[in-house]
Amino acid sequence: MSDVTLAELCIFACSETFRTDREIIATGIGPVPRLGAGVAKLTHSPGLMMTDGEAYLVEEPVPMGPRGDYKPKFAGHLPFSRFFDAAVWTGRRHAMVTPTQIDRYGQTNLSQLGGTHARPKTQMLGVRGFPGNSIYHANSMFVPFHSTRTFVEGEVDMVSSAGYNPAKRVAGGNYSGIDLQKMITNLCVMDFGGPDNAVRVTNLHPGVTFDEVQEATGFELIDAVEGETALPNAEALEIIAQLDPHNYRSHVIRDNPSALRK
């Protein structure tokens, strides 16, 4: 198994994060989360639903990139025009995304860095659907380069998605839908299982130490390490290769390292 890459290990960890016995939409934005969702659906979580990346539901996850003769097999329809009523606002979804900033409360930022709202130093995408996703359904995150630039000290510059920050809650608001599950990075797997939803490290990738993760994180982490992150099994590797024939996954983590540190 020495030729397993770190990206593939992360994909496998993502697939575990999507594990469910419910029939919900799995949305993985970016190659690693998307492949993770595909592996989950084709192995332990057949109830998961997903789209072709555009508007149609498929039971067979669509391979990434140019498809040659492969034609996506449409089983249903879930366009943006139905997305909020069908998937987001009913809580029937688990999304995995890569925000630009994440803080100790699980609040994320995808909108702007620095400056003011009237004149940001760096304008990014905008909040997109993050506010709605975060208040209504399960969310996880994948971070390909674990650093204090992403896992920031203090709070994110612009709170685009709701987290577990008590200061951000208004009396009478219903925050019961906030469900932040895992954060998978190039170093470890974390969750929000500490006191008051504090961030814990639950698994370290092979050869990584807790101190190294803490050093690369702008806020205090809880050491709840249960062991090493599992290597993908043969079945998962086969599915990954099938769903990513152009090997986009090799470009996700810098230098595409092996899962086992040399």
């Binding site: 909020f84 506010p131 612009m158 951000k168 219903n174």
Partner: protein, 292 residues
């Protein structure tokens, strides 16, 4: 018979400075770009633009026509960050109301139903309410829940681009997703439609596709035929997003970085000249559909 035919110039002539204008489509997908280009050729200014933004928003910002933008994102998909929009934001040139994608359509629905707002949980726990001046309401029932009141996004006019339309404003949209165009049309005082193909009576030509009529003709004020009218955005099933054109457009934001130096290239003196400059109808129709 009702006849809602207008020229693109007539349509833009119906708009005025300071109006709130909704633009259908989604990012680089099925945007009424020919009508946007017609606005770019006009003297219109101080517009409030309400859009799931793509290059429509970017170029209107770049040309200084936007006073305020209501947005959840501005993107060209494969080029995630819209460079002309970023320039305008980073120079502090436009006012904004930033909302979530779902709140956005909720605001259009409030406007469509003539309501001042619709309540939602979305936005709670984020910076949106404080930054956008959004207020909360309390449920009058036993639950007493506090919700954000998403204000109606009332539009003076909306622009959408569709596959087919007839003289009376019966539209057909054939792509996989109609986004929120229906709600732009219903939220607007007047909606103007450009189409790839204009027919006299839809029932005489495409009755079998009546389910593609995503919004009723009573919401449509004017129609005009502009083949390739979504270029460089996509128009499934006819043509995809023209990434070569988008790359050139995005690259120009860096070099030369000055819209006035490149406006001719991306707008053209008229639509015929524009279409010619991008290789003509045949070239546009050959742009492959996007793979997501």
């Amino acid at each position: 018979m009702l006849d809602k035919r207008m020229s693109p110039a007539d349509i833009v002539g119906q708009l005025s400075d300071g109006m709130t204008l909704g633009i259908g489509g989604w990012g680089p997908r099925r945007k009424p770009m020919a009508l946007v280009r017609e606005i770019m050729r006009s003297d219109l200014k101080d517009l409030t633009i309400v859009a799931y933004g793509g290059a429509d928003v970017g170029m209107l910002c770049a040309a200084g026509k936007v006073k305020k933008l209501v947005f959840a994102f501005v993107t060209l998909d494969a080029i995630p960050l819209e460079p002309w929009f970023r320039k305008a934001r980073q120079a502090g040139e436009i006012e904004v109301l930033e909302v979530d994608e779902g709140m956005f359509q909720w605001g259009l629905k409030a406007a469509a139903f003539g309501l001042p707002f619709l309540p939602t949980r979305v936005g709670l726990g984020t910076d949106l309410a404080e930054l956008g001046g959004l207020k909360t309401v309390q449920s009058p029932y036993d639950d007493g829940e506090t919700l954000i009141a998403m204000p109606a996004l009332k539009l003076d006019a909306a622009l959408v681009h569709v596959n087919r339309c007839d003289h009376r404003g019966n539209v057909q949209l054939l792509g996989p997703d109609c986004y929120y165009d229906e709600w732009f049309a219903k939220a607007a005082e007047k909606t103007y439609v450009s189409c790839e193909e204009l027919v006299d009576k839809m029932e005489d030509h495409y009755p079998e596709d009546a389910k593609a009529n995503i919004v009723e003709r009573c919401f449509i004020t004017g129609v005009t035929e502009i083949p390739c009218g979504a270029h460089p955005s996509s128009m499934p099933p006819l043509y995809g997003p023209d990434m070569k054109a988008f790359k050139s457009y995005a690259g120009a934001a860096k070099d030369p970085g000055d819209w006035s130096a490149v406006a001719d290239q991306f707008v053209g003196a008229n639509e015929a000249e524009y279409l010619n400059s991008v290789g003509g109808k045949e070239a546009v129709m050959n742009v492959p559909l996007a793979i997501y």
